[in-house]
């Protein structure tokens, strides 16, 4: 467990991280909060995770070895609580909330969901920005919630499926004669977490410029709606309401994932060969006789008569392996997309060469840094056992500096 990709960009100053010496407190409140805090930990902050005594939903989410529940052994916990410290506190009890308050007083940031305040003791006014600023003047509260702290949906409940629907995302995903489709992952959590990390970092940078923020309010709904370019552009420009159509964007075909002999490829032509689509693709598909066919020469004709293109392409793809297709396309200056699954990615030689993976418990691979910084590489540490740092942090909270022996 250490910095991944550490030397790829070169010139790292030993031991330096961007957020050295900064404390962040996380009050556990779901995946987006945990992942935001983890990003801050990766950038070098000391992250203290306050969790309920039995562990939170991330710890209980698994996946577990052999499906045997273990609050310290879950795969999601191992991945998105890396490098944090853990203290278990019952924040509905005044004395435990007071301990939390002491930890927060010494922190630059608190990351949580403002709605947690509805069940917390009065020590922690998460839902009241004004009181927050008075009570914790040195700590910026970064709230990550489904819909933000204000507006008619502020009290609504949601997961990524709901938010993808509201964000215009799922209406255009899937097949035209079937139900709209949401992604197979919790997309809105990750968008919200990353937005929150940017905003938290911006607030820290602003504080150094004398501009103090007390409360940052992040809405997962807005964080995902931000991506709605393609739909909004054609509506706002031409009054066109786009509909899901095999998850394609409006112009351009092919851009589908298609089956081949040993799996799938993303038949999305890119690269220099793309500029002579008709010549290159008809050669690739071993149908030079179609080089002058409008299905090959005219983008919009192909887009509208895509089934005729498929009638040529799919049988050829079915006869060739991924490796054959990529090699042949590459020779023609054409790039396609790969469609790796998790097994493929874990064995991917490119990621290997870039020293991407972090090593987790029992040799399990965890994802690495999303950005390689040459001077301040991101760092990782093990995910803590529940309340692993409780004793030290409780003792520290009783001292003046509240550090509890911070590493």
């Amino acid at each position: 467990m250490s910095a991944t990709n550490g030397d790829a960009a070169g010139g790292a100053s030993e031991g330096a991280t961007a957020l050295d010496g900064l404390r962040v407190v996380e009050i556990a409140a779901g995946r987006a909060v945990a992942y935001c805090a983890q990003l801050l930990a990766q950038y070098g902050a000391e992250v203290i995770r306050i969790e309920p005594p039995g562990g939170d939903a991330i710890r209980l989410a698994g996946p577990f070895n052999g499906d045997e529940p273990d609050p310290d052994g879950g795969g999601l916990h191992a991945a998105i609580n890396r490098g944090k410290r853990s203290v278990a506190l019952d924040l509905e009890r005044d004395e435990e909330a007071a301990l939390a308050a002491r930890l927060i007083e010494g922190a630059a940031l608190l990351v949580s969901d403002w709605r947690e305040g509805e069940r917390l003791a009065s020590e922690l006014p998460l839902g009241d920005p004004e009181r927050w600023g008075e009570r914790f003047p040195e700590t910026t509260f970064v709230s990550i919630s489904d819909f933000g702290m204000t507006g008619p949906y502020a009290s609504w409940r949601a997961d990524s499926h709901i938010i993808e629907g509201l964000a215009g995302f799922s209406y255009v995903s899937g097949d035209p004669d079937r139900e709209p489709l949401s992604a197979g992952i919790e997309l809105s959590d990750y968008f919200a977490a990353t937005h929150a990390a940017i905003a938290a970092l911006a607030a820290l940078a602003a504080a150094r410029r004398g501009l103090r923020t007390h409360v940052v309010d992040i809405s997962a709904h807005e964080a995902l709606s931000m991506t709605d370019d393609h739909n909004l552009v054609v509506w706002l420009g031409s009054g066109v309401v786009r509909k899901r159509y095999y998850s394609r964007i409006l112009p351009g075909y092919p851009n589908d994932i298609m089956a081949c002999k040993d799996g799938h490829i993303a038949f999305v032509p890119v690269g220099t060969g793309h500029h002579d689509f008709a010549g290159v693709v008809s050669t690739l598909l071993e149908r030079p006789d179609l080089k002058d066919s409008p299905i090959f020469t005219e983008t919009q004709t192909r887009n509208l008569r895509w089934r005729e293109f498929d009638a040529v392409a799919l049988p050829w793809l079915a006869r060739h392996t991924r490796e054959e297709i990529f090699r042949r396309a590459g020779e023609l200056g054409l790039g396609f997309g790969t469609v790796p699954d998790v097994e493929d990615l874990l064995g991917d030689s490119h990621l290997e060469e870039r020293d991407y993976w972090d090593e987790g418990p029992d040799g399990v691979r965890l994802t690495g840094a999303g950005a390689i910084l040459s001077a301040t590489p991101q760092r990782f540490g093990p995910a803590p056992a529940l309340d692993a740092d409780g004793e030290a942090l409780r003792a520290g909270a009783a001292t003046a500096d509240g550090t509890g022996g911070a590493a």
Partner: protein
């Protein structure tokens, strides 16, 4: 919340991932100069001419684009010819006075133009230099061509997205572009904090693939621990009642996600199906998962004649997560986004004013981060940027005369490429990729 008014940023960007990062910095106050080149015949028109409003390709179509506005609102445009040594020298001067440089071309392209990041770092150690690319700057795939539609598959996510028992599928949005751009932006601000403390700049290498892989952390874990691959199962999740259900209206749907017993009970009571609480098929999460098909049929029978907004409000009021599945025009009209001031009304050249989404929809003590203004006209800031470098009016005119600098005056674009940017929406409507066309739609007047 213009925190970064002290920063100068130079953007050598295209597409989405790069402009996303630089627009956020601009919205946060930075003086963001986008270096743009004149169109090459038949060549790359990029965001400036993609999907022209109303398919109108007359006149200065490059100054009337919504895509370009979303991705570059409030930034500045300097047209400097990087094909000429003198143009490259001017950009180098611009970089020498900057705090941040962002590029998202294929690895090696900016180096060939004379802006090798390692060299720039050595010469200007205060600079923060951000590379964004599909697969990063090193490794065997570094030079593999990439765009948003290839990077979503490369992220692995389509292998867990799709209808039950069918092949992998993308979503209908090329979300890996903005998602990885956000990671690049976070890295930039982290590097800025380090520079504020130490004066030290650095080089950042963001691979869109690597930035995105953590969204699959649970799937990586389950495969390594238990040898399992997550099956594609539409909108469902194990242990939950989760689906998209048809409603009254033109292809209207409501999304419902019931994650635990409390939400299941709330749903049954609010929808008038209290009998389901005693139905052994739905007794617990496992049995509901087992009988999800039957449950879906029953839920759809209830939603089918109802309005999607009413269903969502009813269920949310009872504590059961639900939401209408919105079309583009409905997203614009969404009351939550309106209440939160998610959109800025920005002028789109001579087209009119339209709502443009914010790229960092955060509130700092209740204050939002709106765009600084509309997107710049091509070359609109060329003269001002050169003057800020200390060039005199005479020198600037000389650069214009030699076409090293440009204001895009008299620009003629390739008519074939222009026509190619038009889309046959009526044909799409007939095919089914367009639901409808509102021919009365009009932007707000300028």
């Amino acid at each position: 919340m213009r925190f970064f008014e002290d920063l100068k940023v130079v953007a050598l960007t295209q597409g989405w991932v790069g402009p996303l990062a630089t627009r956020i910095l601009s919205d946060l106050g930075a003086n963001m100069v986008r270096v743009e080149r004149a169109f090459t015949p038949g060549g790359n028109y990029g965001n400036r001419t993609l999907f022209p409003p109303r398919n109108d390709i007359a006149g200065e179509v490059w100054n009337r684009n919504i895509y370009f506005t979303v991705r570059n609102a409030g930034t500045r445009s300097a047209m400097i010819d990087l094909g000429q040594a003198e143009g490259r020298a001017l950009v180098r001067r611009l970089i020498s006075e900057a705090d941040v440089v962002v590029e998202n071309f294929m690895p090696g392209v900016v180096a060939r133009l004379g802006f090798d990041f390692q060299g720039l770092h050595e010469e200007f150690p205060q600079l923060i230099l951000l590379h964004l690319s599909g697969f990063g700057q090193t490794g065997p795939n570094a030079f593999r061509p990439a765009n948003g539609m290839t990077m979503e598959p490369a992220s692995g996510v389509p292998t867990v997205t799709g209808y039950r028992g069918e092949g992998p599928t993308k979503t209908g949005q090329t979300w890996v572009d903005p998602y990885s751009g956000l990671h690049g932006t976070a890295a930039l601000v982290a590097a800025l904090i380090h520079r504020d403390r130490t004066g030290e700049g650095q080089i950042i290498d963001v691979s869109m693939q690597e930035a995105t892989l953590p969204v699959l952390e649970s799937q990586f874990a389950d495969y390594q621990r238990n040898g399992r691959h997550q099956a594609r199962d539409g909108n469902r999740r194990p242990g939950m009642v989760r689906g998209a259900y048809p409603c009254a209206g033109d292809d209207d749907w409501v999304a419902i996600s019931l994650r635990d017993e409390a939400e299941w009970r709330a749903f049954c009571r609010a929808s008038g199906h209290e009998a389901w609480l005693d139905d052994p098929r739905f007794a617990d999460a496992a049995s509901r998962t087992e009988h999800h098909d039957a449950l879906d049929e029953s839920i759809a029978a209830w939603t089918r004649e109802r309005d999607k907004f009413e269903v969502a409000a009813l269920l949310q009021g009872a504590g059961a997560p639900a939401g209408p599945i919105l079309k583009a025009d409905e997203v614009i009209a969404d009351p939550q986004l309106a209440a939160r001031e998610f959109f800025d009304d920005l002028a789109i050249g001579d087209f009119g004013r339209v709502p443009i989404q914010r790229y960092l929809p955060a509130k700092f003590d209740g204050a939002a981060v709106p765009a600084k203004g509309p997107a710049p006209h091509l070359g609109a800031d060329t003269d001002a940027v050169l003057a800020e470098l200390g060039l005199s009016a005479v020198e600037i005119e000389d650069l214009h005369a030699r076409r090293i600098a440009d204001r895009a005056s008299g620009l003629q674009s390739d008519p074939i490429a222009r026509e190619g940017s038009q889309l046959p929406f009526e044909d799409y409507e007939e095919m089914g990729s367009v639901l409808r066309i509102d021919r009365d739609y009009a932007p707000k007047p300028l």
